[in-house]
Structure formats: C-alpha cells, structure tokens
Amino acid sequence: MNGNIYQPVEMRIERAKDEAPEVRTLRLAFAHAPDREAFFRRYRVGMFGLYGVPGEGESTFCVASPPGRDYIECTFRRAGRVTAALLDREVGHPVTFRGPYGNHFPIESWRGKDLLFVAGGIGLPPLRSVIWNILDRRAEFGRVAVVYGARTVADLVYKDELAGWAGRSDVELVTTVDPGGETPDWKGRVGFVPTVLKEMPAAAPGAAALVCGPPIMIRLSLPVLSGLGFRPTAIYSTLENRMKCGVGKCGRCNVGGVYVCKDGPVFTLEEIQRLPQADL
C-alpha cells in the first residue's frame, strides 16, 4: 500500500470533439483494464481528475462523463501550457490521468426529487456528468430541467447532446445566449441565464438546483433560485480552485479550513457561503 500517489495512469485519446472556439472534449480510454476498474469502483459524478502530458504537466478538470461507460470524457478550454499540450494531442495518442478525486454530488439522496440544472458556458461539463447519470436512471428521479446559456451560439458546448435533450419529453431544456450572441437561425432564447431562470417553475418539495458557470452568472442566479424556493442547502455548485496535487497535500486549493480537492469540489451554497473569500 505504499505506492506513488502522484503516479498517473495511461489513457489513450479515443475521440476528440471541438465544442466551441478553443474548447474541446476528449474521450479517453484506459490503457490498462485494472486502472479502468479501479477508477469506476470509486467514481461518482462530481469528482475530478488530473489530466496530463508528461513534459508539460497536469491540469485539473471535472470528469464530464457519467459512470457506466468504459471511458471518461473531459471538456476544457485552452488556458495555459497543459491545456495547449492536450489540444495538440491527437486521437490515438496517450495522455495521463490521476483520479477520481474529491467528493461527489449526493445523487442517491435525490431519488424521486425534481432537479434543476443551471449552467453557463464552460460550466456545463461538471453538470453534464450528473445529467447523463440521471438520464441513465431516468425513472428514479422527478422532473429534470436544464437552463443553459452561453455568450454566443458558438460558445454553447455539447450542441449535439443539447439537440438530443431538447427532443426528449422527459427533459425540459432551455437554452439561451446573451443579447447579441444569437445567429439568424437561433431557435433558443436570447437573454442572460439569471433572467431566463426567473421563468422556471417554483421548486417542488425536496427539489435540488445545481449551478455551474462564471462567477457573475452564479452570483446573479442565486437570488433567483432563492425566489424559486430553493434553500441554500438545496443549491449545489462546484469550486474550481487551482490545484497541483489533487490529494490534499500541496496546499494550493486551501480556502478557509477547506481543501477543495478533498472536501470539494462539490459544495452546497450554504457551505460556500461559510467559506471566507469565496468567489461568489
């Protein structure tokens, strides 16, 4: 039991899909079956991993795909050295992975309950794993509504999946783009997420809301969610602090008494509000 906890496993890029400008989804297959089994034994939606290219480093993103697949997916935007290196890798190339790390959404406690997903831009990936996890077990949950917005139509990620969800009768999907971001053939809404969110039905008893996106969107959405009847203990989000180790050692993600990599990344609004200097 004295292995190197910083040693990643080898993955192979199975598919690469450009979602939006400089935003790509990689589907990664485990090079070795025991690594895959170990991963899926522990993986629950909300957890994150460190994706790497030896020589460039590792970068932290959520796992954007649900359990029950034989691969994992991540969606990221070009930001620094590691994401640039990941974007350079092609299908068939190996990359490295460590994880899953962190806590997860309390999905079992939501059985029979309504769920409202609120996402902006590149904030959809952390919720996408939850949405698919729910859809995989659709009958166990109540109503599922998704409000998703981006600055422009081009910035919407998972466009194919959005089309798929729009066509389902058991998912209520509202997509919106910021004013000025629409295209002539845009069929969705025009307006900011918090504005569109106001039109959603009030929370049913036990309903949970999951919010992920730019800080300003989250900040403005919270009062709207309160207005809809969601209590701070029923609103969930994920924190994206900078991390290096992912395993509660390097100190980078420490905020207040919390190590985001261990105690998070999933927090309720109530927990986030107790953190000092939370970015909300």
Partner: protein, 344 residues
C-alpha cells in the same frame, strides 16, 4: 545514565556514520549554519539555529516524483521511488521536531505520501534540548518548550554547564542509535542544565479566537504592508509544506518534480485564466497566518507553527509570525474582557 562530552558530537556522528547511518546535522559552510549531510571533520554547531529546518531531511526543496521515457508519440512510465537512505538527524531543535506532527498529518491524512513516509521511516531523530534562546524564539507561545522534544527518537540534554550532553533514548529507534554509538557514550551522572527562559509572546487561545471572526479585518492590510512577497519565511519554516509540481523534459525523457512553493508568492493561486483568488499581499499573508494558527488546528488538531522564530530571522523586512500574533492578541484584548465603552 548515558552521556557524551559536548565536544565529542563529531565522534558521535562518526560512530553513527560507521554504523551505516547517513548523518545530517547543523554544519557550517561559508558562514552559514545549515542542516546538511555531515562529513568527517565537519564541526556540528549546537550554538546556532540552522537557517533551514529539519523539514528538509524529509521534504527536500526539489525531488523527482515521476519519470517517463519518450517512445514515439507516447511515453513509458519509469517507476519512481523515494531516495531514503538510513539517516540519523542529529541536534535538531525541539521546535523542529515538534513540526513533524504537522508534516506527518498532512502527508498522511488521507492519501499517504510514500516519498515523505519512506524518509520518515528511514530516519532517526536525535533532538538537542536548547541551552539558549534568542529574541525570535517563541516556542512557549505555541505550546512547545525548549527542553523536551516529543516525537524525537532521542534527546541530547545539555548538562554540567554545557560540557556534557545526556543521551536520553525515547524510542526503539533511539535506543538503536544509542547502541550504535555506544563506543563514544560514557556512563555516569551529570547534572542537567536549566532550560533557557523563552518569553511567552502571546496567548494562542486569544489569537485563535480573533482569527475565527476577523477574516475581513483591516488589520490584515496593515500587517502585510511590509511584506515583499518572497518565500524566505515559508522555506525556512519547519512546518510549511506547500509545493508545486513541474515537469522537466529532455530529448529522451521527462522528470516530474515536486518543488517547494509558498502562499506568499503571487503566482501560487493564479489561475491560467488570469483570475487570482488571492490578489494582494494582504490576502496572502492572512492565508499564511490563518493556515498556521486556525485552519491547521481545526483540520489536523495541530498548529502549523512551533515557534522556532526562523521567519523573523530570515525575513528581509523583519516581519515574523510572532509579531503578527502579538498584534492580533493586542487587537483581541479589548474584546476578551468586558467590552469597553459598552453599557452593561
């Protein structure tokens, strides 16, 4: 009672070296006393607090934690093991030994860090009780004392006015060490010297109470103004343990290194997007103080400060954790008693 003439510490080191230990001790090079590998002939300095701490033995400034060989478009991982030779750390100060509780906790609280653990397991720590304290020392303010080193494997206690060191084994490893050095140890009584007086600078309880409610205090800005944002304090600190992970490549392969890092450096929390949740030195200095005296006690039940005073000794601007804690304790004072000016 086993003891050793104080001027025979080098002989003790030599005996341990002959017994297969790598000896690490305070030795001087170029006018600076550092905790470093001892080599025959080097004087072991017990009169000066080394500029670096015992931490370096277990958690070096840079070490490899991963290796790959390139092959085509891919990489072959090469197993990377810690370098952990059998080591004796001699004459570590009680404050340095006390910090091991913090390091042990963070490197093992969930995932176990095999690099740290291997060296911890391979190292026997023989502490040296202090016979002097300077104005930066404040172990007694954070629950420590200069003449006891819980967590050490053995204690060298000055006696007979500094002429003798009593060797007190505290663990089996310490007894092994004493056995390995039996040739240079003598039997007989010695009178332990009185420990030095280490001034109590602040009430840790009062500081903790203030920290709990003053995250947004304007005092942070004031306290942090002299700070220039380097990592001298953190790297000298026996309990600071933050690190960075960086890859270094060559034509044939890659080494992944873990390098020390510090919350006082502006880039520590800078996101690739350009956003920085700790955008100024006030928030960074607050993080350092909070982490040591509030977050670590809350999470690990141990303060990440043992009062060694190195931060005050190395800071280019003469700042120190003790000064900050003193200021905080003073700020907390009015609230501790009946609030002044408030009608009963």
């Amino acid at each position: 009672m086993k003891s050793l003439s104080a001027d025979r510490l080098q002989d003790l080191a030599a005996a341990l070296s002959a017994a297969g230990y790598r000896v690490v001790a305070p030795v001087e090079a170029d006018g600076v006393v550092r905790f470093a590998p001892w080599s025959p002939g080097a004087a072991i300095r017990t009169d000066a607090v080394p500029v670096n701490s015992l931490k370096d033995v277990f958690f070096p400034p840079s070490e490899a934690i991963g290796r790959w060989r390139r092959s085509g478009d891919g990489f072959d991982a090469i197993e990377t093991r810690p370098e952990a030779p059998k080591t004796a750390a001699l004459a570590a100060r009680p404050c340095d030994v006390a910090a091991l509780a913090m390091l042990d906790a963070v490197f093992n609280w969930d995932f176990r860090d095999s690099f740290y653990d291997a060296r911890r397991a391979a190292t026997v720590v023989a502490a040296l009780a202090c016979s002097e304290a300077d104005e930066e020392c404040f172990c007694t303010s954070v629950g420590g004392r200069p003449d006891a080193a819980p967590g050490a494997d053995a204690l060298l206690r000055p006696a007979d006015g500094g002429r003798t060191l009593i060797v007190e084994p505290l663990t089996d490893q310490g007894r092994d060490l004493a056995a390995a050095a039996s040739g240079v140890l003598q039997d007989g009584a010695a009178a332990p010297d009185a420990p030095p007086e280490v001034r109590r600078r602040f009430d840790i309880g009062r500081v903790g109470a203030w920290l709990a409610g003053n995250f947004d205090s304007p005092l942070w800005k004031e306290l942090s103004l002299p700070c220039l944002g380097c990592a001298a304090c953190a790297y000298a600190c026996p309990a600071c343990h933050c690190f960075d992970i960086q890859d270094e490549s060559g034509p044939n392969g890659v080494v992944r290194l873990r390098n020390w890092d510090a919350c006082g450096l502006g880039l520590f929390t800078l996101h690739a997007s350009g956003h920085n949740p700790r955008p100024d030195q006030a928030s960074r200095w607050r993080q350092r103080v909070m982490h040591k005296l509030a977050y670590a006690p809350e999470r690990f039940k141990v303060a990440a400060c043992t009062g060694c005073g190195r931060c005050g000794r190395v800071c280019p601007r003469g700042m120190s954790l003790a000064d900050t804690a003193e200021r905080i304790a003073a700020a907390a004072a009015p609230a501790a008693g009946p609030a002044a000016g408030v009608p009963a």
